[in-house]
């Protein structure tokens, strides 16, 4: 069974390490916060200006002045801090944030990522994504393996305008966990019940498959 969005988030949460500051993008990445492994303390940064982002507020307790980068109402954890946008991106560019998780429309086997524009169709802007991918050492992409038309999003090279070059190190999809190195996707794990053949068929880019590919464990 391929994973759903929550499954992808749950698998990515296993990558979290105690003491990390983490930036979660909009969509699947946001769900990672629901699956922090026990005994681990991480703090979430949202680039509009909060470190120590908490869960959604209870109904009636929403504060228009307290939102995340997805413009959703949130709460602040004990010990949280607010700051301006220049300081926020100093944290990001200055590599003070240990992990960035974001979504993508396309990822290439050389680590290129495209996630901000479809020429002639969708022009919403890059927001903070270009700053995040240009600076972070540790970037995990969370996405579905194929787009809604069934076309692979893991490519030899991106066809859409790039967000960043050679920056993605790891991709977690509904089918697999892959590492990017030496200009190829390297299959590390497969989703429960998903065969290696299925993953090969769904991947347009070069995929290196080791002899034994373990199933993800939850």
């Amino acid at each position: 069974m391929a994973l759903d969005k929550n499954g992808i988030a749950q698998r990515i949460a296993q990558e979290l390490k105690d003491g990390w500051y983490v930036n979660l993008g909009i969509g699947i990445p946001t769900l990672v916060a629901n699956y922090i492994p026990e005994g681990i303390e991480v703090e979430f940064q949202s680039e509009n200006g909060i470190l120590g982002m908490g869960p959604f507020p209870f109904e009636g307790e929403e504060d228009a002045d307290l939102i995340n980068a997805g413009k959703q109402t949130i709460t602040a954890m004990k010990g949280a801090v607010f700051f301006d946008s220049a300081t926020s991106f100093a944290m990001i560019r200055g590599q003070h944030v240990q992990l960035t998780v974001l979504g993508a429309m396309e990822v290439a086997q050389n680590g290129d990522i495209a996630n901000w524009k479809i020429p002639g169709k969708m022009v919403k802007g890059m927001g903070g994504a270009m700053d995040l991918v240009a600076s972070a050492d540790n970037i995990i992409v969370a996405m579905m393996h194929a787009n809604k038309a069934g076309v692979s999003k893991l490519l030899k090279s991106c066809t859409l305008p790039l967000t960043g070059v050679g920056c993605v190190k790891k991709v977690v999809t509904n089918l697999a966990v892959m590492e990017i190195k030496d200009n190829a996707f390297h299959l590390l794990e497969r989703a429960p019940g998903v065969s290696v053949e299925e993953i090969i068929a769904a991947t347009e880019g070069d995929l290196i498959v080791p002899e034994h590919v373990p199933e993800m464990s939850f």
Binding site: N48, D65, K71, F83, A86, R93, V123, M126, A134, G164
Partner: protein, 232 residues
Amino acid sequence: MNKVVNNVETALEGLESDMTIMLGGFGLCGIPENSINHMVTMNISGLTCISNNAGVDDFGLGLLLQKKQIKKMISSYVGENDEFERQMLSGELEVDLIPQGSLAERCRAGGAGIPAFFTPAGYGTEVAEGKEVREFNGKPHILESALTADFAIVKAWKGDTEGNLIYKATARNFNPMMAMAGKITIAEVEELVPAGELDPNQIHTPGIFVQRIFQGEKFEKRIEQRTVRQKQ
């Protein structure tokens, strides 16, 4: 030095067509809504607006877009606004999309007397086209220039008669950098107090960056994405 003006009309005096205006806020959070509402009633057009977002169709900068008062937007993210998309795709509206961190830093640089800086953000993308590339520590960076504005309009939670400002929570966002980068900076605040009432240790924007301050008449503070959880 007393920076207080009586109302939004006086605060916006001298703001004319074809000027470049910075407006603080992220989404609808921390936007100078009293000033924007008044700009809609002024007979001005051809504006270049520097703001992270462009509001929604019926609130924030979306209101100026509806009246075609904006010629060009400089932003990082402009989703959530149908009229914006229509004007952009039809070529009526010029749009310069730049990475959010670069936008923040370009405003900060503009206010801080730094004409340009190198950043890794956008290297190898459309954003880098026509820009100088230089390697530092083995990594390519692009040259980004500072931004300034004829008017910067910011929104703060509390302000005093000296123009010192304190922001609340994530409504701070771009406001402090933009306050620094305006030739004339206008601050609209929820609560205006006499000098001496704010703790000098807690002030985010020193009054030297602010030329005019007024207490907004009404703050709707609209929420763009209301997300809640249920009590167990």
